[in-house]
């Protein structure tokens, strides 16, 4: 029992931090620009593929630096030449624009790198088990992931709350004209924020790519869960996203370890009901539906607390 709890907690925290790493950029963009970026997972994927390509040429560490810069530049260009144009047509148009973008990026990546997974490896220097608990190894690379995630969280929080730039960015969101009159280029600030958000997605891509599967459909497979994190945490709240990531990580991990079902609780169904669809529901274990629990959580949160855990606005 102790083993189960320790291991599940560890796995849950690790998974939660991975989710936060991926979703941090999304929440930054949303809190600053009010744009729900459907293509966020696509920038994550771009990061992974850039990371793969650059680490082939120069090694993993240069890739960790260059790939996010490249993806951030692309993100900034997308904002400058695309989003800014559709901004006047409202949020639905912005959302649909990023929706189309996600579609196009997936195909382009498929054309350039093919549709089968690429052989993207973690650096040798981190390829050893960091420690072993109850005969389960925890690789150093996962610890590295955890560390980066925490560093990003703290850095973002400090940058937004404590630095001058952060204050200007926050002011530009609520009072763009006032900030403009003070001599700041509001449009450039927005472009910068979008660039930083997509660069964060790319950091996640470079780091998560080797330990997950780097493939042209990875964005589509990952996309929905990131929205869950951001929405559950409260749209635009960075600490909220952090807590939501941990919550979802732990929820899912602990759910996997529970084998209970309605049948084990109330006993099996009578034979006349055994062949009906009720039997399916009756025998589903909690472990079986663990990965779709976050979606359940999303629906429940939106019904009972639409602003999310730590959000301040409803929409």
């Amino acid at each position: 029992m102790l083993e189960l709890i320790v291991i599940s907690t560890l796995n849950g925290v690790l998974y939660g931090m991975l989710l936060f790493l991926m979703a941090s950029g999304l929440t930054v963009i949303f809190s600053m620009l009010g744009v729900l970026n459907f293509a966020h997972a696509s920038f994550y994927m771009l990061g992974a593929f850039f990371g793969f390509q650059i680490s082939r040429w120069f090694g993993f560490w240069p890739a960790l630096l260059i790939a996010p810069l490249l993806a951030g530049a692309i993100g900034a260009a997308v904002e400058r030449f695309g989003l800014r144009r559709v901004h006047k047509n409202g949020h639905v148009a912005e959302l649909l624009f990023t929706f189309g973008l996600a579609f196009a990026i997936e195909e382009i990546v498929g054309i350039i790198w093919g549709k089968v997974p690429v052989d993207y490896r973690q650096p040798d220097i981190l390829d050893f088990p960091a420690f072993t608990i109850f005969s389960t190894n925890y690789p150093a690379y996962k610890m590295f992931m955890l560390a980066v995630s925490v560093v990003i969280f703290i850095a973002l929080l400090l940058a937004l709350k404590r630095t001058r730039i952060g204050l200007i960015v926050q002011a530009a969101l609520t009072h763009p004209h006032m900030v403009g009159h003070l001599g700041h280029n509001v449009e450039r600030i927005f472009m910068l924020v979008f660039g930083v958000g997509t660069a964060l997605a790319a950091v996640a891509g470079v780091i998560a790519g080797p330990s997950l599967v780097t493939q042209s459909n990875m964005a589509a497979l990952l996309g929905p869960i990131l929205f869950v994190v951001v929405v559950v945490g409260g749209l635009g709240s960075l600490p909220g996203a952090f807590i939501a990531s941990l919550l979802i990580g732990l929820l899912q991990t602990f759910a996997v370890s529970i084998n209970g079902s309605l049948a084990s609780l109330f006993g099996p169904l009578g034979p006349d009901l055994a062949a009906t669809w009720l039997n399916d529901i009756w025998n589903v274990t909690i472990a079986q539906i663990a990965p779709i629990m976050p979606y359940l959580l999303l629906v429940l949160i939106l019904i009972f607390r639409p602003m999310g855990l730590l959000g301040t606005r409803e929409t």
Partner: protein, 434 residues
């Protein structure tokens, strides 16, 4: 006094010619649907028409949400799919018990199923519009799609549930085996659904939906609850989506988890938006366009999804009103008889734009050849046009077309903008002067 006030609120009765025009359009539509299979009679075109009909109903039902009530849904396929599944189960049950219910009534069962689930889920979903609604619909769609694979006895697992539509009670000796009979069944339902949904937009409810979309606070001041209006609109939308799903189930004689999936939800969003959500006719145009494109484009090029995505981005960027929006923009000009003034500048802009598109396509196809099929013969065909992907001439042509086309198109389009402004002002002045 009161008489005067109320009579001035009601619009004047349309003149006879207006009414003739109005009913004429519907009768004409019916006639076209009737003779269509006589003109194109191959099995493939029958199937295409049937699919177009289904997706018209589906896209229109979606537009009740997005276009008319301002609710962006990412999970509309849930009601489509559940309608389809219920219809398939109904066909099997009715066929098994030999009840005297003919096939043409089955879409109604799908519709009621869609209505039932929309009514069940809708109340909590429609509490808010905007992003919250979009996100709930996304989460719910994921939940339903995932459960569809887990709950095998109802959804039939991966293989889905199949049925035989010919085993039902027969009316007028129709077996509904041949595709032509299914086409007429779908065409009839499409016409009924279009008329019903059009009528819906003309009711006070339809008007209230528009008001909720534009300004929910004011709706509240007037004494209506926006939540209730959204809920009712949501139920109607679910009903028609269920009809579309049932028709699809009848057409394919199978329902499976793909009916409920994200692809289906995305396609209907594409169709409605590309067609234009601002006009009733928009989703119809969009449904025809997207269905035909997705059926045909994959024969022409391997990377049709890329073109599809780029096209969608272009629509969002340059034509937020969709295809219909673009066309309808010209109505004042047509009325004033000044459309011809725009044509020269359109022609000027069309040429470099076309060059730009061709250049881009040439580039994409060449790159695809090199990355996807590197070992094959470089004499490739895209869109039926053969060219040599290995030849430098192709590369130079592509580069020149892209760069030249882009520069010229930018200038030409800004010229179009200027001409547009002056022409529109002139046209307005002329119409007002009349």
């Amino acid at each position: 006094m009161t008489d005067l006030a109320s009579s001035s609120v009601a619009p004047p009765r349309p003149t006879l010619s207006d009414r003739m025009k109005f009913y004429g359009i519907w009768i004409l539509t019916g006639l076209v649907l009737l003779v269509l299979p006589k003109v194109f009679s191959s099995g493939g075109s029958m199937t295409t028409f049937s699919l177009v009909g289904i997706s018209i109903i589906f896209a229109l039902s979606y537009n009740i949400l997005l276009g008319q009530t301002g609710m962006l849904s990412f999970g509309h396929a849930v009601y489509y799919g559940l309608g389809g599944f219920l219809a398939i189960h109904a066909i099997n049950i009715v066929g098994f018990h030999k009840w005297p219910i003919p096939l043409p009534l089955m879409p109604l069962i799908g519709g009621v199923a869609g209505l039932f689930f929309a009514a069940l889920i809708g109340w909590v979903m429609t509490q808010r519009s905007g992003t919250a609604f979009a996100m709930i619909s996304l989460g719910l769609a994921e939940l339903v799609a995932s459960s569809a694979l887990i709950l095998r006895s109802f959804f039939g697992g991966e293989a889905g549930i199949s049925a035989n539509r010919t085993k039902l009670f027969k009316v007028f000796g129709l077996s509904f085996g041949p595709q032509i009979q299914i086409y007429y069944l779908i065409a009839a339902w499409t016409l009924i659904a279009i008329i019903a949904m059009y009528a819906l937009t003309r009711t006070p409810l339809g008007r209230m939906c528009n008001a909720v979309r534009d300004n929910p606070e004011r709706v509240q001041f007037v004494g209506y609850d926006p939540h209730v209006v959204r809920y009712i609109a949501f139920c109607f939308s679910g009903f028609f989506a269920g009809i579309a799903g049932a028709l699809a189930a009848i057409n394919f004689e199978i329902a499976n988890s793909a009916y409920l999936g994200a692809v289906q939800s995305g396609t209907v969003l594409f169709a409605a938006y590309i067609g234009g959500i601002g006009f009733f006719i928009g989703p119809i145009v969009g449904a025809i366009f997207v269905t035909v494109l997705s059926l045909g484009l994959s024969d022409l090029t391997q990377v049709w999804q890329l073109y599809f995505g780029l096209f969608f981005i272009a629509v969002v960027l340059f034509a937020p009103g969709g295809i219909t929006g673009l066309l309808m923009m010209h109505r004042p000009l047509v009325r004033a008889g000044m459309l011809s003034r725009m044509l020269p500048s359109y022609a000027m802009a069309a040429l470099p734009t076309l060059a730009l598109c061709v250049g881009l396509m040439l580039m994409i196809e060449t790159i695809v050849h090199y990355t996807v099929n590197p070992n094959e013969d470089p004499h490739i065909q895209a869109f039926g046009i053969p060219f040599d992907a290995a030849s430098p001439i192709t590369w130079v042509t592509a580069a020149v077309l892209i760069v030249g086309g882009f520069l010229l198109a930018r200038r030409a389009w800004s010229r179009v903008g200027e001409t547009w402004d002056t022409t529109l002002t002139a046209a307005r002045a002329k119409v007002h002067a009349l």
